[in-house]
């Protein structure tokens, strides 16, 4: 018996039976650790026995062993846990634990009441914790989430990074035109908002594709997910104002449908970006090819006044209709389609005063402008996705867009010595189609191959007609109107292939090969009543072709708390332009290096370097001038300019979600050079616009914090935002310094809101912006905006809600001082148990007196006035069935 037992001991075979494991747990100072926990578990993590240590730090564990090995773990609060595998036999195990290097912070974790939950790359916000009932659309809620910023145009960014798209319950709606959802979908449908960082473009590439894209996923309330649901808003007001908004959604089963309609003449813009560049929306099977499509030369620019939203002075008449459908035809085939159409008519009236500083004298020119813009846009896209197997995806996408912009300017200007009238009519059309075919296959061991082919065709006829006596000096032969006509047509063919993989140690690598062919024609000429203007400076006739290929390799390596990224791309370009007899072949290398250091869960430091060399497009090759507005011309390089930019970025971010605090700081150094530049002189009638090499330094500091945790005793919620910027620029031409200056800016915004349980609550806020421009040691002026806000919110019962806000905006700069006062009020009545909500709202109740505002623009200072109109909204209906 003894011999057998001895044999089994020696051979390593352990006879199952009662086992006792005992020992002592001490600290590194040999001090016994009482109240610690010893846990014995099996390989499948199931706990078989546990015990706690007594005052001497000793413990005893007893178990009926049924396996040969167990994992013994020693835990103690404030110390680093230790685990070790032990055999199933009675023994003594001693532990010496080290103290935790970081102090256990005073931290509060809530159960399901946590307003923000962070899980690796996903940050989830509980909407009801941030909403206060005044929100109407999704954008209004997003503005209140910490870490999320919405700019004046509706562009959304999270932790400083612009988002790629918004998903609705995981489904894509309207591709990358997320403003369609954020500006039109009702806020009361939301339950949670998830911000997902580093999302792969498709689930097949998850874990393989290195991506720094961020998407927002909107999760709807339970009752909204099951049926057809939507809202209808109808409003009518004095001075024939109307506002209507309707949306209908169904996210049931295989068909996910969304329809949005909107119309108003109250100044609100349902989708700010009326430009639809094909290059901006290559939503594709894999991470799409990089496009360099040139923007149209002519653009009508609506007036922008700092500190005052465009809604307050824009007179418009806009309508929008959009529909999106995602249909799962079979388990392998999916169809996605969307279309939207938009039409608008915007009018702005401004009067300007220009002060020209010429050799100690000042010349004042006054003019009044009337600007009318009529944009119209039509976009349709169809996508077919086929999954032949679980690891493959085949995708075809077709896209068609048509855009039209007509604008009309009328200007009457006078100086003490003369007066003149000028009229400008601009029309641009853009028609484009795009087709794309993509294939992805995921191989075992985390590798993937993607193949893409695309074709794009854009046609952009543009025309600008100017009638003015000013051209007499430039074009003596012209009588009456001068018309600039531009025809621009681009065809692009391209292919791309990627081979990507992720290694077991989480290193990622990718190899890319691309090829493309671009053929672009640009023709522009000036005509007048007298005939075509002969001066060849104003005529361009370009027809160029570009062949391009590249090979790129990159890798991302995680090393504990440090993430390294390195990449390089070898590019080959061949360009040929017939009319200028230009030919060129270039080869260049663009390296990229990045390091991210995660100091801890909340703090991240990042350094990034990138060199980018590109090749010019047609507009850069143009030899002569292109008239772009009644005052300005644009001149191209007339040569093969290859700008090279070196960018270095250092950023630090801290996001303590439990305290709802986020900080993002970034310093960027960007240097841009090109071998050849041509320059045009400035005279007093035209503004020079051209590209010059300009290395500049930019410091931007952004700090956002929610102080509510600290003021919770007073039940006051407050938000503080601070921005500081320093932008210095320097431009040189052939080593001769042209200009050197700096723009400094500082702004802050503080909002305090009370949150008493009672009937009345108050809001007070203050916003201050200051910026100044200094050039060559001279101050070109400063701008200062101050804006105190005060508001009262009264909720006499659950059904009634009244809020009134008053805003005073003070705009001051070197030469002028303007003040505006606005009073807005909103009364909302929600009858209990009914689906209807009634709202009476008024904006700009006290029309501001005719005011002037100043804008600093190079060497010109202008002042503008405009009218403000009050409006009222009547009723709003919610429904679901």
């Amino acid at each position: 018996m003894c011999f057998l037992a001895f044999l089994s001991e020696v051979s390593g075979q352990h006879v199952p039976g009662k086992v006792t494991i005992q020992g002592k747990v001490v600290a590194t100072s040999s001090q016994p650790l009482a109240g610690g926990m010893l846990i014995l578990s099996k390989a499948d993590s199931s706990i078989v026995s546990y015990a706690s240590t007594d005052e001497k730090g000793e413990y005893i564990l007893e178990l009926e062993a049924d396996t040969s090995h167990y994992l013994l773990t020693a835990n103690n609060l404030g110390y680093i846990s230790q685990s070790r595998w032990v055999t199933a036999q009675s023994q003594t195990q001693q532990f010496q634990l080290e103290t935790e290097p970081t102090q256990l912070r005073q931290v509060t974790v809530k159960g399901d009441l946590l307003p923000i939950r962070v899980n690796e790359d996903t940050t989830s916000f509980s909407v009801q914790k941030f909403a206060d009932g005044t929100e109407r659309v999704v954008e209004d809620i997003l503005k209140k989430l910490p870490g999320v910023r919405v700019d004046d145009n509706g562009g959304i960014s999270f932790k400083g990074k612009p988002i790629d798209k918004i998903l609705l319950e995981g489904d894509e709606f309207f591709a990358k035109n997320y403003k369609m959802l954020s500006k039109n979908l009702s806020a009361n449908m939301l339950d949670k908002v998830e911000a997902i960082e580093n999302t792969a473009s498709t689930p097949l590439l998850k874990g393989i594709e290195r991506s720094d894209k961020t998407v927002l996923n909107l999760k709807l309330r339970e009752d909204r997910r099951k049926t057809l649901f939507g809202t209808v808003d109808l409003a009518a007001g004095v001075t024939r104002r109307y506002e209507g908004r309707a949306n209908l959604f169904s996210l049931v089963d295989r068909l996910k449908l969304g329809i949005i309609g909107s119309a108003n003449n109250t100044g609100r813009n349902p989708v700010p970006e009326l430009r639809y560049d094909l290059s901006n929306d290559l939503s594709d099977a894999s991470d799409g090819p990089d496009q360099h499509a040139s923007p149209p030369l002519l653009r009508a620019q609506p007036i922008a006044v700092p500190g005052i939203p465009a809604e307050r002075f824009n007179q418009n008449r806009v309508w929008l209709g959009a529909a999106n459908m995602n249909l799962t035809l079979t388990s392998k085939l999916k169809l996605k389609a969307f279309t939207y159409q938009l039409g608008d008519r915007q009018t702005q009236r401004i009067s300007n005063q220009y002060e020209y500083l010429l050799e100690g004298n000042s010349l004042i020119v006054r003019d009044t402008q009337r600007l009318e813009i009529r944009p119209s846009l039509r976009v349709s896209q169809v996508t077919l996705e086929y999954n032949p197997s679980e690891t493959s995806l085949l995708k075809w996408q077709g896209n068609l867009q048509q855009q039209q912009d007509a604008s009309f300017y009328q200007i009457a200007s006078h100086t003490p010595d003369f007066s003149e009238r000028l009229q400008q009519q601009m029309s641009t059309r853009q028609r484009g189609i795009q087709q794309q075919l993509g294939f992805i296959h995921r191989f075992p061991r985390n590798r993937a191959l993607t193949l893409d082919a695309y074709y794009q065709h854009q046609n952009r006829p543009q025309q600008l007609t100017v009638a003015s006596g000013r051209f007499a000096s430039l074009f003596p032969a012209a009588k009456g109107d001068v018309t600039q006509q531009i025809i621009n047509e681009v065809q692009t063919y391209g292919v791309q292939s990627r081979w990507m993989g992720a290694l077991p140690g989480k290193q990622r690598y990718a190899l890319l090969a691309t090829g493309s062919y671009v053929s672009e024609g640009l023709a522009s000429k000036l005509r007048s009543e007298a005939g075509s203007l002969a001066d060849s400076s104003y005529r361009n006739n370009l027809s160029y072709e570009k062949w391009q290929g590249s090979l790129e390799a990159n890798t991302a390596i995680p090393l504990g708390r440090i993430d390294l990224y390195a990449g390089a791309s070898l590019n080959w370009v061949q360009i040929q332009e017939k009319s200028l007899c230009l030919r060129g072949k270039f080869v260049f290398l663009n390296p990229t290096l990045g390091v991210t250091y995660r100091i801890n869960q909340d703090n991240k430091l990042r350094a990034y370097y990138r060199r980018n060399q590109t090749q010019p497009n047609a507009v850069d090759l143009s030899k002569g001038y292109v008239l772009t507005t009644y005052r300005s011309f644009q001149r191209g390089y007339a040569g093969l300019n290859r700008p090279q930019s070196d960018g270095f970025t250092l950023s630090y971010s801290n996001s303590d979600w439990l305290r709802q605090f986020s900080l993002h700081t970034e310093i960027t150094y960007l240097s841009e050079k090109s071998p050849y530049v041509s320059q045009v002189g400035v005279n007093d009638q035209f503004t020079f616009m051209g590209q010059l090499p300009s290395p500049f330094r930019n410091d931007g500091y952004e700090l956002a914090s929610d102080l509510s945790k600290y003021l919770s005793a007073l039940e006051v919620n407050s938000t503080l935002q601070l921005n500081a910027g320093w932008n210095s620029y320097q431009s040189a031409l052939n080593s001769a310094l042209i200009s050197k200056g700096a723009i400094r800016s500082l702004s802050g915004k503080l909002t305090l809101r009370t949150a008493f349980d009672g009937m009345v609550n108050f809001e007070a806020g203050y916003e201050d912006h200051w910026s100044d421009i200094r050039e060559s040691g001279l101050s070109l002026g400063y701008n200062r905006l101050r804006k105190p806000i005060a508001g009262i919110k009264v909720t006499p019962s659950k059904s009634w809600y009244l809020i009134t806000t008053s805003e005073w905006t003070d705009l001051k700069n070197t030469t002028s001082h303007n003040q505006f006062y606005f009073l807005d009020a909103l009364i909302r009545f929600t009858p209990a148990g009914k689906r209807v909500m009634y709202e009476l709202s008024a904006k700009n109740l006290l029309g501001s007196p005719t005011a002037t505002y100043s804008q600093l623009s190079n060497f010109l200072i202008s002042q503008s006035t405009y009218q403000l109109v009050p409006r009222y909204i009547l009723a709003r209906v919610d429904f679901s069935f």
């Binding site: 926990m37 706690s52 974790v109 809530k110």
Partner: protein, 257 residues
Amino acid sequence: MNFKRFVRLDFFICFILLTTHSNAQSQLGVVNYLQLEKQPSDPNYKGHGVLRFSKTNSVYTEKSVLADKEGSETSAETNETRVYSKSSTSNVDYTYTNFAAQQILSNERILSKYFFVKDTLSKPNWKMVPGKRKIGTYECLKAVTTFRSRTYTAWFTPAIPVSAGPWKLWGLPGLILEATSSDEVVRFLFQSIQLTPNGPPLQAPKEHKKPVTLAQFVTFRKEKFNRLKKAGTATGSFSTNGVTTWNTFSVENFPNE
């Protein structure tokens, strides 16, 4: 002379502080629970439970969420008006457990009268069952035990290696964040936790009354309810369908007869 006296006093105070501090463990965290009970007279009873714990002891206090409510409330559905007035007594139900000394002190109630009960701590016999769940940000494991005639399922987190739990549930290799009885009569639901390293000392409550053992308390309780029944008094009773009964419900599940 004065200076010497001052120094002696100062030293004495320091000594007191040091000794009291060394006897009492410092609090490491506070957990808030929602204690739900299906009482015969109040099936929707909601209590707010607070557990303060250290490595070797814990204090659990519980108070009804209505305890501090004042005023009257009319329910539209049942057309019933309830009047609330703030409780005049500052007594709350509490349980103090000392794992190291194997001691339990609790404030047990018979109707509105409180008794100070002192007893030896008995460790519930826990059985590990498969199951994993995330509560808050903590990964929790599952265990089951039968305690005071009820079967409880508890979710505990080894990330916080203390034996504490709500009420008298303790003895797992991690903090118990949630526990429910199989008959759904008693539920302790996790609401929030605040970790407070080097918090204030966690001390045993002062013995204002003469302590009784648990067995003695159970006997008192049975006798009291029998006397009430015999006397037919309405004190502490409620009526359902014409039948008068007393709220003899207790989480302890004491025998009533």
